[in-house]
Point group: C3
Chain length 269, copies 3
C-alpha cells in the first residue's frame, strides 16, 4: 500500500516547515508520494482550512491521506484525530477543521495516541513535524487507521459553527455569506448550486438577481468571459457554490468586500 499524502497547512512557504515535514515523512517511508494541497491558509484560520479541504477531497484518489496542520492549540491538551470519510483518511487536530466531513457523514474517527510512532523528542510548537509526519508515514505505508488509538464518537469531536446559507421562508431567495476570497479576488459564498436549482425549478438563470452591499447583479453568467472585461458577474463556480467575480478584474478589491459579507440570491419574483 502507498496512500497518496496531501498537506494542508497555515505554514506558508517562507520558512522551512513544510520541507521539514516532508523530510520526516520520507525518513520513515522513502517511497511516500506527497502533494502540497495548500499552505496559504492564513495563520490559525481554521474556517478556511475546513472549506478548502471540503472542496478538494472529491478530486483526490480513493485512499488518499489528507494531513491538515492548522493548529493554534499545538502543545496544549487538544486531541489529534484520524477520520475515515469517503474512502479517504483525514489526519488533523481536533479543533473543528474537520467540521464539514463530521457533519456530512464519516465512517470512523480515532484519537491519535500512538506515542511510539512520534519522533523521540516531541516539541511543544511543531507537531506537524514531530507527530503528524511520522504518523502519516505509517498510515501511508499501510498501518490500519484503528491502530492510532481509541475510537471517537461524533459527539466527542470539536465542531466549528460554520455558517450555512438559508432559504427565505417565502421560498424566493437564499441568503448566504462570503466565506472565502481567492487569488483572483473572486468572492466565494456558501450558497450551493443544489439549493438554487431546487428553488429555481425550470426558471432560466438570466432571471436570478444577486444582491450584495447595495449592488445588484442581474442574471447568472455562464462564464467569466460572458460579460465585458471589468464587469461584475455572478456564477456558480468550480466548487458548485455561488461566486461573485469581475471578468479579468478583482471583485474583492474593487468592492472592498471581505469574508462574512451578506449576500442574497433572489431566485424568483
Amino acid at each position: 500500500m502507498n496512500r497518496l499524502i496531501t498537506l494542508l497547512t497555515d505554514f506558508g512557504l517562507e520558512d522551512e516547515y513544510v520541507g521539514v515535514m516532508k523530510g520526516v515523512i520520507l525518513s520513515r517511508f522513502p517511497a511516500a508520494r506527497i502533494i502540497d494541497l495548500c499552505h496559504g491558509v492564513a495563520p490559525q484560520d481554521l474556517r478556511r482550512a475546513a472549506y478548502l479541504l471540503e472542496s478538494s477531497r472529491p478530486y483526490f484518489p480513493a485512499a488518499t491521506l489528507h494531513v491538515v496542520v492548522v493548529d493554534p492549540g499545538v502543545g496544549t491538551g487538544r486531541r489529534l484525530v484520524l477520520m475515515e470519510a469517503g474512502g479517504q483518511l483525514l489526519l488533523a487536530p481536533d479543533n473543528g477543521v474537520l467540521t464539514l466531513p463530521a457533519r456530512s457523514g464519516f465512517t470512523a474517527a480515532f484519537e491519535v495516541s500512538c506515542r511510539e510512532l512520534f519522533l523521540p523528542n516531541v516539541s511543544r510548537t511543531f507537531h506537524g513535524r514531530d507527530i503528524f509526519a511520522p504518523v502519516a508515514a505509517e498510515l501511508a505505508k499501510g498501518m490500519a487507521p484503528a491502530a492510532v488509538g481509541r475510537r471517537l464518537s461524533r459527539e466527542e469531536l470539536v465542531l466549528l459553527p460554520l455558517a450555512e446559507a438559508e432559504i427565505d421562508p417565502s421560498g424566493t431567495a437564499i441568503t448566504g455569506e462570503v466565506v472565502d476570497i481567492d487569488r483572483f479576488g473572486n468572492l466565494l459564498t456558501n450558497i450551493h448550486l443544489n439549493a438554487y436549482q431546487e428553488l429555481a425549478g425550470g426558471l432560466p438563470p438570466a432571471t436570478a438577481i444577486v444582491l450584495l452591499r447595495g449592488r445588484m447583479i442581474n442574471g447568472l453568467s455562464p462564464a467569466y468571459g460572458a460579460v465585458p472585461p471589468g464587469t461584475l458577474l455572478a456564477i456558480f463556480g468550480s466548487r458548485n457554490y455561488l461566486e461573485i467575480a469581475t471578468n479579468q478584474g478583482n471583485a474583492a478589491r474593487e468592492l472592498e468586500i471581505g469574508r462574512g459579507e451578506r449576500i442574497v440570491l433572489r431566485v424568483k419574483g
Copy 2:
C-alpha cells in the same frame, strides 16, 4: 511511457487550485510525475506565461508535457490546443500563450475535443481541473497526441503581438523593451545575445552602452558581482537576453521601471 508533466499557471499558491489539479492527474494516472514550473504568473498575464514557457522548455527532458493554464476565456468558446514542438508537448488554451513556439516552428497542433476524457461535470470556471488535468494524465500515460482531436493549421492559432527587438537601420544599436521583472528586481528585456553578437562582431563588451530612462550604463558586465554592490549593470542573463540589474540590489524598485520600458543597446559608435 511516463511523460514528465509541468504545470505553469496564474493560480498562485494561496488557494487549493494547483493541489486539486494534481489530485485529478494522480487519480487518473497514479504514477504521474508532476513538476511546478511556475504558478506566479499574474492573473491573466498571457504575455508573461508565454515568455516563461519559452525560456524554460529547453531545460526539460524530451517528451515532457507542459500544461499551461492561464485562461481568462475559461468557459467561453475559446479552443484548447495541444502542440508538439521540439519533441515536447504543450497543452494550453488557444489564447496566444503558445505564440513563441507557434512562431519559431512546431511539429503539429491539435484541437482538444476528446470530451470522453474530461471530468464528468465540467465547470465553467476551472478547466485546469476538469479538462487539462485528465487530458494531461492520459497524454503522460502514452495516449497519442493526435487522439485529442482534429489537426489545426498555424493560421488557425491565436497569436499575441509579442514585441521583438529591432536593429537600428544604421546597424549600430538595438532597441527593445523590458518584458519581465523577476524576484530579484532584474529587468529582463527582449534583446537577444545573437542580435548583439551579430552587430558587435569582435568588439569587446566593454564598449557597448545601454540607455534606459535617461540613464547610461557603460559596458556589459561578466557577472552581477563584477561591479560594486548597489551599482547598476547590464548583462546577458540566463535566458540569453539582455538584463539590467543592480548588484545585490533591486533595479526595478530603484529605477521605478516596469514592463514595456524602452531600452537601447548601442553596440558601436
Copy 3:
C-alpha cells in the same frame, strides 16, 4: 543509489527558476526525488539560509543531498563546495552558507570543478541551473563526492561571523539576539535549550525572565496556547532555541522588532 535531493534557494516562486532547476536534474536523472526545502530566503540572505539549513538537516534521511543556491557571487571567482556532514551531502557556493556545519564538524569538503558535468553553456547569472542541478543529478545517482574535485581544508572555507549567544560572567543570564522571524511573526533567537538547562539546573521554567526592548516576560511557556490569546510569551521552540511569540498573534509586528534585536534570558537571581 537514489539520494533524496532538497533545494534551498532565494529564488522565490514567482519566477520559473526553481522549476527549471528541477527540469535539468530530471533531464540528467529521471528517477530523481526532489523536495523543496525552502525558496523563501530573501535575496542574498546568506545568514538566514545558513540557519534554515542547520535546523532542517536532522529531519532528512541519511544520504540526503541538500542543494543551497543563495549565491550573490554567481559568475565571479567564488568557489562551489561539496561538503559531507552527518552522513548527508551539502552542495553550495563557498560563501558562508555552510558556516554552521563547518563549525560543528564535517567529514570532508571538496571544490566543485568537474566542468564536464556542467551544462554545455554555463551562464554568468544562473549556476543553479547550469552547475548545481547537473552536479546534483550525478551525486544523487551515486557519483562519489570526491569525484567533484580536490579536497578542501577547513581553513580554505569561507565562514560567516554568525552571532553566538553568550553566558553572563555571573552565570545567571544568557544574552543572545533575534536571528530569524517566521511567517507567524515568532522571533527566533540563538539562545539554545542546552545553554539554558546547564545554567538553570533544576530551577523551574516559571522562574526564568526574558528581557527585550524594555519588555519583561515572566517564565517560559509550555505551549503557545498556555497563555491567553494576544499575550506575549517565551518558549523553547521546535529548533530548540528560545522563541518569543504571541499566542494567536504576530509578535514581530506587534513589537516592531526585527533581526539583530538583543535579548536576555535571566535564568536565576
